[in-house]
Amino acid sequence: MLAAEATEEILASTGWFLENAWVIPIVPAVAFVLIIFFGKKMPMKGSEFGVASMLASLVLAVGAAWQWIQRVDGVSHAAHSVAEEGAKHGAPFVAPIIREWTWWQSGGFEFGIGQHIDGLALTLLVVVAFISSLVQIYSLEYLRGDRRYTHFFAALTLFSAGMLCMVLAPNMVQLILGWEIMGLCSFMLIGHWWEEEANSRAALKAFFTVRVGDMGLLIGTGILFFSANSWTQEHLGVSGFNISGLSAWAMSGAASQSALTWGAVALFVACIGKSGQFPLHTWLPDAMAGPTPVSSLLHSSTMVVAGVFLVGRLYPVFWEGMKIGDTNINFIVLIGGITIVIAALLAFVQHDIKKVLAYSTVSQLGYMMLGLGAGAWLPAIFHIFTHAFFKACLFLAAGSVSHSGSHHSFDMKKDMGGLAKKMPVTATTWIISTLALAGVFPLAGFFSKDEIIDNVGHNGYNAFMIVGLSGAFLTAAYMTRATYLTFFGEARGAAAGEHHDEHDAHAAHDDHDAHVGHDTHAGHGAHDDHGDHGDHGPHESPKLITIPLVILAALALVAGLANATPFGSNWERFKKYVEPSSEYVVAESAMASGPGESIVLPAAEEGAKKEGCAVVDPEEGKVCYFPTVSHAKFKWSKAALSLLIVAVGLVSSWLFCVQYYTRRNRRLVGLTERNVVLRGGYKVLWNKYYLDALYEKVIVRAVAYPISRAAYWFNQNVLDGIVNAAGKISRRVAGWVYRNIDQRVVDGAVNGSGAAARGTGGALRPVQSGKVNQYGALLFAAAAIGALILVIINT
C-alpha cells in the first residue's frame, strides 16, 4: 500500500513543458504572421523569424521530452516496487497529458483543440522541430537571393506549425486541421518556382493526388465519430473525435466490427495519399520540383510520415479494424509490401538524384506501413525517427551537390561523377547516410529497418519478411548506384567544370516525362550572380550548408542506439518511453478532467492478468488504450542474414557500376537493348508502371470526358432548352401584356386621367373670369349656401 501511495505522488508530477506543449505549434504560427507582415522589412528578409521560431519550438519540444522521460521513469520506478508483490506483464500505464479547450460549437457538437502528449507525439515533435531548424538554416544559404525568399520562409514556417499542430492533436478535428495546413504548404512550396510550368503542374498533381486520399480522412473520421460518440460520451465523457476516446472504444469490444473496418480503411486511404503509398505514390517524385530544402523537410522526413503517424496514433482502430492481430494478410501490410518493392525498382532507372531519393522515401514509407500493418508498432515509429535524419541528410547533400558541384543540375548521368574529391564533406555525409539507409550495422537504419523485418516475421507474416529482405537488397543496390554516379567514376558535364548552357542541357533530355525535378531554371533566376560560384567548377559548399549536413550525418550514425535491441533491454529506451502501455486502466480516473485541466493520473492496475488488451476485452469500468504487441527476440543469426543481403547488394551494385559506367563493359552496356525481357522491364520501369498514364489518360479521361460530354449535352439540350423555352414564353406573355394590360389598362388610365383633368378644367374655366365681382358673387353664393345648410341642419 505504501508503494501505491508513493506511485500516485510521483505520478502526479508533470512539468511546465509537458503542461504547455500546446505552445510549440503556436510559436511558428506567430512567426508565420510576422514574416508575412514584416518579413520584407527585416534585415534578413524574414528568415530570422523562421529560424528563431523553429529553434524555440525545438527547445520547448526537447524540454517536454525531457520531462516525459522523467515522468515515465517515476512511474516505472514506482511500478517496479509494486510489481515485487504482484506479477506484472507489461510496462505500467503512463497517462498522456491531455488538455482540451472548446474551439467551437455547432449543432450540439463540440469541437476541441488542445494537446495530447505522449511518447509518440513527443518523438514527432522533437524530430519535426529539429529537422525544420536545420533545414531553415540550410535554406538561408541555398535560397540566398531568391525572388520569393520571404514567402519561402513563411510557407516553411507555416508548414512546421501545421505539422506540430497535427502531431499534438488530441482529437481528429485538430488533426485534420494540421493535415490540411501541411497539404496547402506542400502545394505552395512545390510550386515555389511556379514560373516554370512543370513546377506548377507538379504542385497541382501533388495537391490533387493527396486530395483524393483526404476524402478518406473526412469519411473515416465521420464513420468513427458517429459510431463511437455515444460510447465515448457514456464511458469517458469525451466526444467521438477524441483520439484517446476512439482508441478506448476500438479496444472495448463494444465497437461494431464493420464501423471499425470501414473507418480504418477510409483513414488508411488518406494515409496512402499523404504517405505516398502505392498506388497514389506518383505525386511524391514529381514533388521534387520544389526547392531541395522542401524535398528534404516535407517530402522525405516529416510531412509524408503524417500518414504513418495517423496509423500509429489511432493504432487500436487499425488493429481492430484490420485485424492486425491475426496473421492473415491485411490491407496495410499488402500496400506497404507492394510499395517497398515497386518504389525500390523505380529508383534504379532514375537519372535525377532527387528522384532516386524520392522513390527511396516511398520505399521506406512502405517499410513503416508494413511494420504497422504487421503489428510492429514500435519499430515502425522508430523507423520514422531514424529515417528522418538520414533521409533529410541525403536530400540536403543532393542539394549541396547541385548548389556547388553540378551547376544547379540534378542529373546524375550528365552533370555529376567524381565529386568525392571536390566536395569531401558532402560526400562523407552522403555516404554515411547511404549506409544508414541501407541498414549497415551499427548505423541508424540497421536498428529500425532490421527490427521491422524481424518483427514482421515474428508476427507470422513470413511472406512479407521476404519482401522486406528483398527491399533491403534493392535499397542497398540503388543507393550504391546513386552514390557511384554522383561521387565516383569520371566527372561529367558540370561536375567536370563544363559551363554549358543550362537550357541546352535541358532540351537534351527532354523526354516524355516532364523534368520537374530540376531547380535549375528557377535557380537560374535566383542566382543572377553566377560569377559567384558558377564558373569555378565544383567546390565544397559554404558552412551554412555543411554544418546541418554534418549534424544530420552524426545523428544518422548514432540515432539507432536510442533503441538498440541487440545490446539488451537496457538499450531499448525508445520502447520504454514511446510505446504506450497495453494495461487495463480504470475509465473514470483516466478521463475525469474537465476542459483545460490536466488529467489526474490513474494508478496502474495492480496484479494485472496475463491476457493483455486486444486479447481479452476489458471489464466493465476499465478501458484499454493500446493493443498488446509482441516483440521479436533479437537473434544475431537473423540479423546476420539481413546484413549479408545488404552487403551483397552493396558489393554487387558497386561492381556492376564500375563495370557499367566506368569500364563500359561490352557485355553489360546495351543489355537492355539486346535482351527482350530486360528491355520490357526497363520500359515498364522507365514509364513508372504506366501509372501516370493510367491516371491521366485513362482515369481522368474516363471520368472527365463523360462528365464534359454529359455537361455539354446537358448544356445544349436541357439548359438551352430551358433558356429558349423561357425566352419564348416570356415573349408571348410580354406580347399579351403589351396588348391588353399596357395598352388598355395602363395607357387607358393615363389617358383617362388626362382627359378627365382636361374636361374638368374646361368646365371650370368660365368661372375664372378674372372679374373681381364674379369672384365676390361666387364667394357670397357659397357663403349663402353654407349658411342655408347650417340653418337646415340646426332646425
Binding site: R765, V767, Q768, S769, G770, K771, V772, N773, Y775, G776, A777, F780
Partner: protein, 99 residues
Amino acid sequence: MLTAQFLLLGAVLFCIGIYGVLARKNAVMVLMSIELILNSVNLNLLAFSVRHGSVDGNTFALYIIAIAAAEVGVGLAMVLLIYRNRRTIALDDLSEMKG
C-alpha cells in the same frame, strides 16, 4: 325687444353692402360697400352683446373697426396704384386674373 330691430337693420345694411360689392364697377364704391358689410356685422355683434349682457361683442366690434380702418387703408392704396397704372378704376377692365 329693440335688438330685433338692430339685427334687422344689420341685415339690411349687409344686403346693401353685398349689392354694392357685386353691382358697382367703381373700386372706391366697392370698398365703401365692404365697409357697409363690416359695419352690419358690427351692429350684429353689438346687438347680441346687449342681448346677452356681456362685453365680448363690444370688444370684437372695436377690433373690427380697427381692422376695417387698416383694410380701407390698404384697399385705397391699391386703388391709387391701379389708377396710376391704368388711368381707370373700373373693375370690369381688371381681368388679369382670368384663368
